[in-house]
Amino acid sequence: MKKFNLSKTTKDNLWTYGIVLVIALITGILLLTGNLSSLMEGLLVPICSYVILAVSLNLTVGILGELSLGHAGFMCVGAFTSAFFSKLTENVITVDIVRFILAIIIGAAFAGLMGILIGMPVLRLKGDYLAIVTLAFGEIIKNVINVLYIGIDSKGIHFSMKDSMALGLEPDGKIIIKGAQGITGTPKDSSFLIGVILIFITLFIVLNLIHSRDGRAIMAIRDNLIAAESVGINITKYKMMAFSISAALAGVAGVLYAHNLNSLMATPKNFGYNMSIMILVYVVLGGIGNIKGSVIAAVVLTVLPEVLRGMNNYRMLIYAIVLIVIMLFSWSPKCLEWREVFMEKYIRPRFAKKTSEEGK
């Protein structure tokens, strides 16, 4: 019996992995047997990238306790650097999976680097500065990409911030990033399987970090900065660690996103402020600091607007109402009280019975 006496955290982690695994398996079986509608099939990869985004943001918001309002910016960096790489090497590296793995590493590295660059000055400060700076970062990166023109020809890579004529390409050259028109024709390397594997890697990184010595240091900073400092925790180092890992994982989500669609543009819709808030909504609804909750919230909230398509123009209205209802359900004190009573009355007794029977 001792073997099954796992610690509470291990059990909790296994639950998280288990939920993802079960959902992924069921979806995978439905997909393979052709029982999934085209809509759902098309949603699988976006869901994976939003789950990764939600989990990675939860690391900053829930575990580190800092507010980041520019998570879509990191996603954007990951998306564009990796799509650029994939377009560049499309004919050089012909094995899709090798190129995609390299693209993921590049996307994560650049997004992580951006995280470090932003974190260096900002994370030394106390207060809401991270929120302000990341908010600005998200907007800046979007606008920078919108004026960026990069082309390639026999002489090498050309770069301009004016327009595509200023690149001065040879006749055989091709433009890779075309300002506001972004990158078109990114190879479609993302798949559900890779998405699920990336979710597992993300969960593995984040959960292990949380339950490690470093993770406890990070949470100590969140809970009481002065106390943490007094016991000799290097505040900036641990803040940087959590924030840059969070940024790098957002970059991975961006890579997945970029390689799922044929055209990649930095519009306010997909990489702007609204997107950052959307990710924050996943985190808040799922429960700040609750990784499992982030996964579920990201899945439900991505699927919901698509499922509500039957209601035509009312769907956005319904979506907003559902958001409010979930928020009340999961956070209002009265609701929490009611859920507690409900659990005591119906769920707990059964569990208690079951376990006591097993115990015998």
């Binding site: 509608s37 809509l39 907007e139 327009d163 055209s263 919901l304 698509e306």
Partner: protein, 392 residues
């Protein structure tokens, strides 16, 4: 009371969960089996009906509905009735693909859309995969029709830019030209690029190139000041009408009165609320459609549209209305039937597209090249006495 409230709330959540689960398990209905049994042409539409670009999507949706109603009342296409299902894409690539997949589940035979270029390019990659016939009313980027199954009703951005430069050059409208464009917008930057390219071959010079972005589009005094300082006699505005209205306003307040020249995005400028129409006097725009044109076809369309939706149709509506009739012409020419399935219809119809000639609201004698680009005369309109007038 509290208890009932909680019950209702929990019910609502349960319902939402059940809905999402039900959707996951829903049966796949696309494929030839479902199509073969259907006796109607199912046309799917994609465009933004919510969000910032909703004006365009709604116009396309309404006009397409109007055309479908007319066709059905007249006996359908080849004797088959037409069904239209229009899905919202919020002008976003990802949502566009979702909308496309939704329509596929519905059993769509042909696609009308997407309305905006970005979404259209993403959807075009999907239609090419499925060999689905695609006709975009207003997706003007070149990449929209990169595949041979996709066709356009509107001009491509490069064509508009080149046509505008040639028009200015040939009519010797100016020697010094300034351009103000939205560098964060695909449409605007696409036109600008080709305009600037073609300008080198024309007898005028671009003396100032000013840009703005979607985040910063209320104050244009700097751009106008630069254009004025450079001595531009003509300002080229390859932008949408809402910004153009502000530019005209601000130019008037700084007493700068060059000729303003725009593309089809300027269509609708006279309908901007609180806009002094006299400011737009003399503005020239290249647009395929004007709601107050005098020909019978346009007048009937405008009257029907106003009666049905209480709104004056814009160029997007006209494009969509034409698109449905173009589909009709191509299907009739090819003799395709719903029983041919998605791929079969596509093969037949795309062959017929290069053979048909359509007289529509947005052009007389429209023909298509196999590349998917439309071939029609650009029309230049001038705003005179608060109305669009065709320049002959």
């Amino acid at each position: 009371m509290k208890k009932t409230f909680k019950k209702v709330m929990s019910l609502a959540i349960v319902a939402a969960m059940v809905l999402s689960v039900a959707a996951c398990g829903s049966k796949n209905t696309n494929g030839s089996a479902a199509n073969a049994g259907a006796g109607t042409f199912k046309i799917g539409g994609i465009g933004p009906t919510t969000g910032g670009a909703a004006v365009y999507g709604t116009a396309v949706k309404n006009a397409a509905e109007l055309a479908v109603k007319e066709i059905n009342a007249a006996g359908g296409i080849n004797g088959y009735q037409v069904e239209l299902n229009f899905q919202d894409d919020e002008a976003d690539q990802e949502k566009g693909v979702n909308a496309y997949n939704t329509l596929k589940d519905w059993g769509m035979n042909l696609l009308l859309g997407s309305v905006t270029s970005g979404s259209c390019v993403a959807v075009a990659a999907k239609t090419a995969e499925d060999n689905m016939f695609q006709l975009t009313p207003s997706g003007s980027a070149v990449d929209c029709v990169a595949n041979d199954n996709a066709f356009q009703v509107c001009f491509t951005d490069p064509n508009q830019g080149i046509a505008a430069a040639q028009y200015i050059g040939q009519n010797a409208m100016a020697t010094k030209v300034a351009v103000i464009y939205d560098s964060s917008d695909v449409y605007s930057s696409g036109i600008y690029e080709k305009f600037a390219g073609e300008a080198k071959n024309q007898p005028f010079e671009i003396v100032a190139t000013e840009s703005f972005t979607a985040d910063n589009k209320t104050d244009f005094s700097v751009q106008l000041q630069n254009a004025k300082a450079a001595g531009a006699e003509l300002v080229f505005l390859p932008i949408y009408y809402s910004e153009a209205a502000l530019i005209l306003n601000q130019a008037a307040s700084m007493e700068y009165a060059p000729t303003f020249f725009g593309c089809d995005g300027l269509d609708g400028i006279l309908a901007v609320e609180n806009f002094d129409k006299s400011l737009a006097e003399g503005v020239i725009l290249l647009t395929p459609f004007a709601a107050d044109a005098k020909d019978e076809k346009t007048q009937k369309f405008v009257a029907d549209y106003q009666a049905a939706y209480g709104d004056t149709p814009n160029q997007f509506a006209a494009d969509a209305y034409d698109a449905i009739y173009i589909m009709k012409a191509a299907i009739e020419k090819s003799g395709a039937t719903p029983a041919d399935g998605v791929s079969g219809i596509c093969d037949k119809v795309k062959g017929a597209m290069t053979e048909i000639t359509v007289d529509g609201l947005t052009g007389i004698g429209m023909t298509w090249a196999a590349t998917g680009e439309v071939n029609k005369e650009p029309k230049a309109m001038v705003i005179k006495d608060g109305a669009y007038a065709l320049i002959q």
